[in-house]
């Protein structure tokens, strides 16, 4: 009983991490129609900034708070300088953002070498419920993920910024005619998606350590999650990430990890083949 509970918690926390990473990817894919191959590297940058703050003797929290802002600003700049030119063709966008990701990843590799750098958990220890111990930091990640999800949902559905964003997504020319600066909205959307990736990186670095291929590890998983969930809505990618994250954490408990890993991807691709619109079809939030 206790073991099953701990297992369920582990699975849930891994699902939460994937949701956190995919959130930004899904928003960019849904709102802008491009699959950002550099998203994993934004996660890496968030992790790196947190590590830097820790290594310079600052409190880890400071790095974690700074990460989304720095990465978001970088995302805004990159959108204005480069990404903007890719909107005409989704495949070119894939390749272009892949090149960007390559540059960021290899730069970070140059800075940290091939090492696994560790950052301690800001909230250490474990939460004891009777005889069961669950990691306090993983629990915090679940809580923060829920808060961020709620925040995103409110931002997109209740604020005027969200309204403009959705208007731009639904009908760019009409939005422009109504006085919305669509280029600015694309920039803001991309910056927002990047900031979420930066935050994800900052929060997961105590769990996974910092290494150059950190972002790459989650990239394909993230894309598959977005496709499974369905592009074009806020809730779709989140649902997809929940399903993929939970499955890939749950299956290794009942079969060989390698088989489980491959099985998740095969199932996902077969699912997308027969339901291209994903779990939750739709445009808009």
């Amino acid at each position: 009983m206790a073991n099953a509970f701990v297992a369920a918690f582990e699975i849930l926390s891994f699902g939460a991490i994937i949701v956190l990473i995919v959130l930004g990817l899904g928003i960019i894919a849904s709102m802008m129609g491009i699959f950002n191959f550099a998203q994993g590297e934004f996660v890496l940058l968030g992790a790196y900034i947190t590590y830097l703050a820790y290594a310079k003797g600052m409190p880890i929290w400071a790095g974690m708070v700074a990460a989304p802002f720095v990465v978001g600003a970088l995302g805004f700049a990159l959108e204005a300088l480069i990404i903007r030119r890719f909107y005409a063709a989704p495949i070119v966008a894939m390749l272009g953002t892949y090149a960007l990701g390559l540059i960021i990843r290899e730069s970070v590799r140059g800075l940290i070498g091939g090492f696994y750098l560790t950052v301690p958990e800001p909230i250490g220890g474990s939460i004891d419920i009777g005889a069961m111990h669950i990691s306090a930091w993983r629990f915090t990640i679940i809580v923060i993920t829920l808060l961020v999800m709620a925040g995103c949902y409110l931002l997109l559905s209740r604020t005027s910024f969200g309204l403009r964003m959705r208007a731009t997504l639904e009908n760019p020319s009409l939005a422009r005619a109504s006085g919305i600066s669509t280029p600015l909205m694309y920039g803001a959307t991309f910056a927002f998606g990047s900031a979420l990736a930066g935050l994800a990186g900052a929060l997961i670095v105590p769990v996974f350590s910092l290494y150059a291929d950190l972002g790459l590890r989650f990239l394909i998983q993230g894309f598959v999650a977005v496709m499974v969930g369905g592009v074009g809505s806020f809730i779709g990618p989140v649902a997809g990430a929940g399903v993929i994250g939970t499955l890939s954490a749950a299956l290794p408990w009942i079969m060989a990890p390698v088989v489980a890993d491959v099985l998740v991807f095969v199932l996902a691709i077969v699912f997308i083949k027969f339901r291209p619109q994903g779990l939750i079809a739709g445009k808009g939030v």
């Binding site: 005409a88 290899e106 140059g110 020319s173 291209p276």
Partner: protein, 371 residues
Amino acid sequence: MLRPMSVVREAIATDMGDEAGGAMAEGAAAGQARDRVRAGRKILPIVEAVVLVAALLAPLVLQDYLTVFATRVIILALFALSFDLVWGYAGIMSFGQALFFGSAGYGVALLARDLNVTNIFLVLPAGTLIGLAFALLLGGFLLLGRHPSSVIFVSLGTLTGSYAADRLARGWYYLGGQNGIPSIAPMSLGSYDFTEGPAFYYLVLGILVAVYLLCRFLVRSQFGLALAGLRENEQRIAFFGYKVQHLKAIIFTIGGAVAGLAGSLYAFHEGFVWPNMVGVVVSTQVVLYVLFGGSGTLIGAVIGAVIVEGVSFWLSDNYRDIWPIILGLLLLLVILFRPLGLISFLLGERERVGNFGARPKENVKETRDAP
């Protein structure tokens, strides 16, 4: 299923005709005027001849260890050719091309290890067939069926396939796990063993030239023209009665076969296979070759492989760490400013099969705001 060539030409030409004609009448853009001048001259055959002569002479001037390196580059060029067929001609982003390359490599490595089969007339066809079979399975699944697949789905599907194969190869003890399969016996012809050196080089070069000529014939046939047509405007080609998904599946399978041939040669040349060979790393490497060199020209793929591998070999002593960063920057510049690759410095867009020049500016603007 195939229509007469003239109809296809017309189908593509009507798409581009007004635009190209309009642009030419105005003669406004300097680039288009340059293309028009070049349309008369054929640069492509000259480039092909120069590359062939250089390749034939290479082992005479190169030191031994460089000949070994050049052999590897030629095998990778053959692999690049397979990707150019599917991406450059049919516009299918096969982001997991290494799956066919690597699975053929593993296949022939197992033949040599477990069955002692190294005869060149057995292993090369076997490798080609393995690549073909995998491509037929994956391509059939991704491309055919009731729902037409989106470009993004196909690219992610192939990428995922390659990633899954990588994971499987790493975790499967029979395939050697992380270490792969080392010390594969050399490929043999009767009692002669192909070991690294000029003989292997000329064997590989001969195969490359033969496959190149076959591909060249294929893409200039009406089948290839129909492919180029669907690359430029898929709906129009479908409207003319082609089963575009079938055309795509066929070229995808052919590409897989060529990749399989390259993979089996690579396995015997290097003498070992390892999980990266089926994975994302090698898959993206081949995309780099073709984008650098120039997609949709065949020779561009070969030149791209030679340049990327050559420069990275040259830089690997002193600048090993920053080379990937430079590679990324160059790739970004090529995508931004030279979407048709380095070869577009030499030849006009019209020499790319099925390409009738640049799209007019206003079209791009229109789609840019509506992603």
